[in-house]
């Protein structure tokens, strides 16, 4: 059944039909740009640019959140990792989804009710401190840039495998399309673009795998391997790594800047919760498919794990198991979906970073927002060129661990604990950040797992430092605190309009 020969790279037979793939990428980019320009006609004010004037309906908003959240790691990385590590890797999609549950439980409605545009806005108003704002902005920008880099690596990988073009073309194409859409339309058009891209991603994963299963069943194909068999010699992760990963994913999601900014587009706290409920449904449906890819590849194409690029498995599976013209078309569909994943996550991050940078540095004008958007996209492009590609799911997991150790404690304690002070918030964020950087710098296969996967201890450490320092500086609790807590937690509408 297997067509190509041993090595995939530089082997034209192994590549997806280049012409079809380039067409698929072009169509996705064009559709993104067109929806973006269509949005331009209805975005007029600064409010439109930042948060779509808070008029987006829950279904649209939920699709947009799903579209933005499902990144290269979800589309390519998770399936590749499942192929490599089997059921151990199932914790990735579970963690990504359960992270949203935590966001719903602890953050969604209060954050919407805070009335702030960005996370730095929130921390500044809650703790009445410009310094906290600056530290939060710095952390948010770092998180955003760290998160864009794997998207660009994913784009480079996809373009190289699908078309044989040099890798940098993929990263540059993503940055150019994202800059054009964001500069043209801001958040309003982004909402439509993202919503479209969720459904595109779902289709692009679901149709090929259903077709593959149908073909395999029709042929009565015999599995080459059992699902439990490890296709490579790499040892599976230990219990500590799994727990640490789960902590990072559960608590990292609620600190992601591009996810949080979406909540401001809900009209009120209750609809923010309803939106999140729909998002959970959309994510649950989506993650069934990377799991299915992983399982099918483990049983019918375990060779793909040994190519050295498990992230490319989703792109190669249709050609491997179906072949011919249908295989090419299905591959093109997967390539289109993957490209939608890079575009949507990158543009969501660029919008939220541009919001932070333009408000803090450029005075919050529409012009400043556009300039900041270009800067926010170009810097990670530089990083992407300088760094080598790690496994996508792994590097995104580290970003989640970083937000879980920095942004997450500030948000949770700021929303639920009256005693948080500016000094405590800064001390906690610095602790979490330093722990993560120590882990990332020394992060190789040689370091002990507790240092390479620090979330299991760095998140509690950040919380502990924040609480202890806040207790010690309790005279710094701002006088505006009771009023802000009331705003965060009380329902918006008066009784009369409710009934």
């Amino acid at each position: 059944m297997r067509r190509g020969t041993g090595t995939w790279q530089g082997n034209s037979d192994a590549q997806v039909n280049a012409g079809v793939a380039i067409t698929a990428v072009a169509v996705v980019s064009l559709a993104t740009a067109i929806i973006g320009f269509y949005g331009l006609r209805i975005s007029r004010t600064t409010g439109d640019f930042y948060v779509a004037s808070r008029t987006v309906r829950p279904w649209w908003n939920a699709s947009a959140i799903g579209g933005e959240y499902l990144s290269a790691a979800s589309f390519l990385g998770v399936a590749g990792l499942i192929l490599l590590s089997g059921t151990d890797a199932l914790w990735f999609p579970v963690g990504y989804t359960a992270g949203y549950l935590m966001l719903l439980l602890f953050v969604a409605a209060p954050l919407r009710r805070s009335g702030a545009y960005t996370i730095p806005d929130f921390t500044e108003s809650r703790l009445a401190s410009r310094t906290v704002r600056r530290v939060t902005s710095l952390v948010v920008v770092m998180v955003g840039w760290l998160y864009i880099v794997p998207q660009l690596h994913g784009a480079a990988l996809t373009i190289h495998i699908a078309t044989g073009l040099p890798s940098w073309v993929g990263s540059v194409a993503v940055v150019v399309v994202v800059c054009l859409t964001v500069v043209a339309g801001g958040m309003r058009s982004i909402t439509f673009v993202q919503a479209f891209q969720y459904w595109l991603k779902l289709t692009a994963l679901a149709v090929p795998i259903l077709f593959i299963v149908f073909v395999l069943a029709g042929q009565g194909a015999e599995p080459q391997s059992l699902p439990a068999v490890n296709p490579t010699g790499v040892a599976p992760a230990g219990l500590y790594q799994n727990v640490s990963l789960l902590v990072a994913l559960l608590f990292g999601t609620l600190g992601l800047p591009h996810v949080l900014v979406r909540f401001y587009t809900n009209p009120d706290g209750h609809s923010a919760r309803r939106t999140t409920l729909i998002v959970l449904g959309l994510l649950s449906v989506f993650y069934l498919f990377p799991t299915a890819y992983g399982l099918v590849a483990r049983m019918f194409a375990p060779d793909l794990a040994r190519s050295g690029q498990p992230d490319a498995m989703v792109l190669r599976l249709p050609g491997e198991l179906v072949g011919g013209v249908p295989g090419d078309l299905l591959s093109a569909l997967v390539v289109a979906g993957a490209f939608a994943a890079f575009l949507s996550t990158t543009s969501g991050l660029v919008v939220s970073l541009a919001g932070v940078i333009s408000q803090d540095v450029l005075g919050g004008s529409v012009r400043g927002f556009r300039l900041a958007a270009v800067v926010s996209a170009l810097v990670p492009l530089g990083f992407a060129f300088m760094t080598g590609s790690l496994a996508l799911a792994g590097s995104v997991g580290l970003v989640f661990a970083f937000t879980a150790s920095t942004v997450c404690p500030v948000l949770l304690l700021g929303i639920w604990w009256r005693g948080l002070t500016d000094a405590g918030a800064i001390a906690g964020m610095v602790t979490g950040g330093v722990a993560m950087i120590a882990g990332a710098v020394s992060g190789s296969g040689l370091t002990p797992p507790w240092l390479a996967q620090p979330a299991a201890w760095s998140v509690p450490a950040a919380f502990a430092v924040m609480v202890i320092v806040s207790r010690a500086t309790s005279h710094r609790i701002p006088g505006t605190m009771p009023r802000i807590m009331t705003r965060l937690h009380t329902p918006e509408r008066p009784l009369a309009t409710e009934r």
């Binding site: 199932l90 989804t97 359960a98 549950l101 439990a228 649950s284 069934l288 009331t486 918006e492 008066p494």
Partner: protein, 123 residues
């Protein structure tokens, strides 16, 4: 509506704020009093308790799934429609639990808010 409401004493200046488009300010001003703050604190406490209970319950179920597979030998490899049960449980079975937890939370949180409105709403 003939319900008798527990109301907080409010400064007359704040009456002017009510009914204006600045709903946010009226909302906060109304809760500035001591009694208002008691209501707010109890709302925050009940919402936090709810969130912690749902999160704790979910994490317990989450931990129980792989434990079940470890404790019951052979269960992970039992096949249903050709798919090993371990894959079904972890790959698909957890999502309904997440959805159910979320749905329960959204319903109860809205109910907590309705109770708060009844107490503190129209003063």
């Amino acid at each position: 509506m003939t319900r008798v409401r527990v109301t907080a004493p409010r400064a007359s200046a704040r009456t002017a704020v009510r009914g204006t488009p600045r709903a946010l300010e009226s909302r906060e001003a109304a809760q500035d009093s001591e009694v208002g703050q008691v209501f707010v604190r109890s709302l925050i406490r009940s919402q936090l308790r709810l969130a912690l209970v749902v999160a704790g319950g979910f994490l317990l179920i989450l931990a129980a799934f792989p434990l079940t597979l470890v404790v019951v030998p052979g269960l992970a490899d039992t096949r249903i429609a050709g798919i090993p049960f371990g894959w079904l449980l972890l790959g698909a079975g957890i999502y309904p639990v997440i959805g159910l937890s979320a749905w329960l939370y959204v319903r109860t949180a809205a109910r907590n808010e309705a109770r708060y409105r009844d107490l503190a709403g129209e003063q």
